[in-house]
Assembly symmetry: C2
Homo-oligomer: 370 residues x 2
């Protein structure tokens, strides 16, 4: 990763991450394409939004339609018709959070599909093989991610297994000649000692980048901020730093100040489906959440009665024509009548918000104000 | 309506229908925007598809969001952001088919909303008022539409009420100075005598156009064809002729040969939601349904196993980029995983099919082959 500028006011930095499908400006946010589709929008729309990279889920694609089908299609890029970079997670997180039964063994995890109850066994080697078949630009090492409230002993065990599996992932990756990067994941929950130890272990392997896992998984935000502040600056400076699964806009701003470069989160797309819209606003507006400088945002529920007669644009400043043309009143109506177009408009709105936020952050770091 | 050419081989004709929002080439097909949205697609996409006019449902919009809200928005065109012509039905058909309880009185119909059970009373005057508030380009007279298997006595009563209400609609319309057209509806089921009588009654009023109602409502196709063949040529020649609710592609071709100019149907959009795709094919292909000349079509279910590994385009000849770029295999996956994007792609495919069919028909009439 090429670092272009480091902030003097914080650990924040801007840079360029080069992948097999073009480079990405950092810090960046990855829209989630769980099952090889960002819910309710097309790749043309992703392009228009200025998305530079997306994230797809190995667990879901392994189960449906299966990585072999995607490999036959020519890989995930061809299958889903997206020509930009793709990051795939390792499947680990979903195995623990979604599957009916899961059992960690030394070799890997046995689990039952949440779709049909079929039994599967995922190992570090298997996770890398799936990600290689998918052909993502950035693969993630297979790890164990304990819950946010897990006791220290559990987290310590997860760290040990994560290191063991990281070595196996690394070894499998090194044997391949494919143009894919592999990121290691640092666990350790909210325990400084465990984080230090995991960082030392994982960074002993020459991964393409390093991620912080096991954050934003249910722990207090205060605890998360504390451990992030502690561990993020210790990450290697010349490698991309990825905070998995974060987060709310103010959390992303906080993490960037600690030196994080990469983010992914379901919030913009998932909350869109519930009709919650993100929008920038004046810092003085009711409900405003400050980000930095004069930048603030608020969220609103489009189904609320007050939008019923609001004929103003969904977002008059949007780069997306549909968001300028359609009114809040109309979007309110679409949600009330459960028209699919409503989900699309809300998703476009929220992704545009997140991607614009990242551009604003990059600009602020560039001009020295963040 | 301006008739440009009459076929020498059939009653088919091409022409131009002028409305307050531009003219439309006839014969034409109207995509259905039941609740002020064509399900799963945007008005930009409707434009790209070449849709020249859409149909919205008075019953649905009256109940939700209410015609007053739409009037305040500046009318339906502004509310839903569609600048082309709009036809609204009268609400009559839905009152009978959707509402929980309905009771025909001399004055109108009492019914209970299918949404919340609230009681309403719809009269001819009220139907026109709602359509005036919606501001559609073409309004339909409020009629009584009996089921396809209704006995002659029931149909005769429906004809009598329809005529009575037609006069009241006509009177209400004539009082207004708005630039809206009003079409009369001829009922009579599959009974020639009743059709003749209804035609005589309804055409005694100087409506802007005339529709055949009470067809494609459950009767045998053979009966429908027979009565259509009988009554369509008797419709006034210099006025637009609209066959409500039809139909399958071959039915539309048949009706056009009888001199019909206008169609609407939920088939392309509804069947898209069930994953049934319409596509042109060679007349020799398995399952092909002939239309005219060398034109034939077939339908296929995208969820079928055979599409799983079919990496060819959804439609390589499509004018819509998404349909050329995304594969059948990917669309199969989207339907299997219930991704909203799948509904959009299938809808685009089917509407493009129907609208292309209409262009092919216009061309064939023009060059004398239909």
């Amino acid at each position: 990763m090429e670092i272009i500028k480091k902030s003097k006011k914080s650990q924040a930095r801007i840079g360029k991450l080069i992948t097999g499908h073009g480079f990405i400006n950092t810090p960046f946010f990855m829209p989630i394409a769980t099952k090889a589709a960002v819910k309710n929008i097309s790749v043309c729309e992703l392009d228009k939004l200025g998305a530079e990279i997306i994230l797809a889920n190995t667990y879901h694609l392994y189960l449906q339609p299966g990585e072999k089908l995607i490999k036959k299609a020519g890989g995930l890029h061809k299958f889903m018709n997206w020509s930009g970079p793709i990051l795939t997670d390792s499947g680990g997180y979903q195995v623990f959070s979604l599957s009916k039964i899961n059992k960690i063994k030394a070799d890997g995890v046995e689990f039952q599909s949440h779709l049909d109850g079929s039994r599967h066994f995922l190992t570090p080697e298997k996770s890398i093989q799936i990600q290689q078949d998918l052909g993502s630009d950035i693969m993630m090492a297979f790890d164990v991610c304990p819950a946010g409230d897990a006791k220290q002993k559990i987290v310590a065990e997860a760290c040990a297994t994560t290191f063991d599996w990281a070595k196996r992932c690394y070894k499998t990756w090194k044997k391949s000649k494919k143009n894919q990067q592999l990121f290691g994941i640092i666990q350790g929950g909210i325990y400084k000692k465990l984080r230090d130890q995991s960082l030392k272990q994982i960074t002993s392997l020459d991964f393409s980048g390093f991620a912080l896992g096991g954050l934003a998984v249910g722990e207090d935000r205060k605890d998360m901020y504390k451990i992030l502040q502690y561990i993020a600056p210790k990450l290697l400076e010349n490698k991309p730093r990825y905070l998995m699964g974060l987060g709310r806009p103010e959390e992303i701003v906080f993490a960037i100040k600690q030196g994080i470069d990469m983010f992914d989160c379901v919030i913009p797309t998932r909350e869109a489906r519930h009709g919650r819209l993100y929008q920038f606003c004046s810092t003085k507006q009711k409900g405003a959440i400050k980000l930095f400088g004069n930048l603030a945002y608020r969220t609103s529920i489009i189904k609320n009665e007050k939008n019923k007669l609001d004929y103003s644009s969904i977002n008059k400043n949007s780069e997306i024509k549909l968001l300028r043309q359609y009114s809040k009143s109309y979007l309110h109506h679409l949600f009330k009548t459960q028209e699919g177009l409503g989900l699309r408009l809300a998703t476009l709105n929220n992704l545009e918000f997140y991607l614009t936020l990242m551009k604003q952050i990059q600009k602020a770091i560039k001009n020295g104000s963040l």
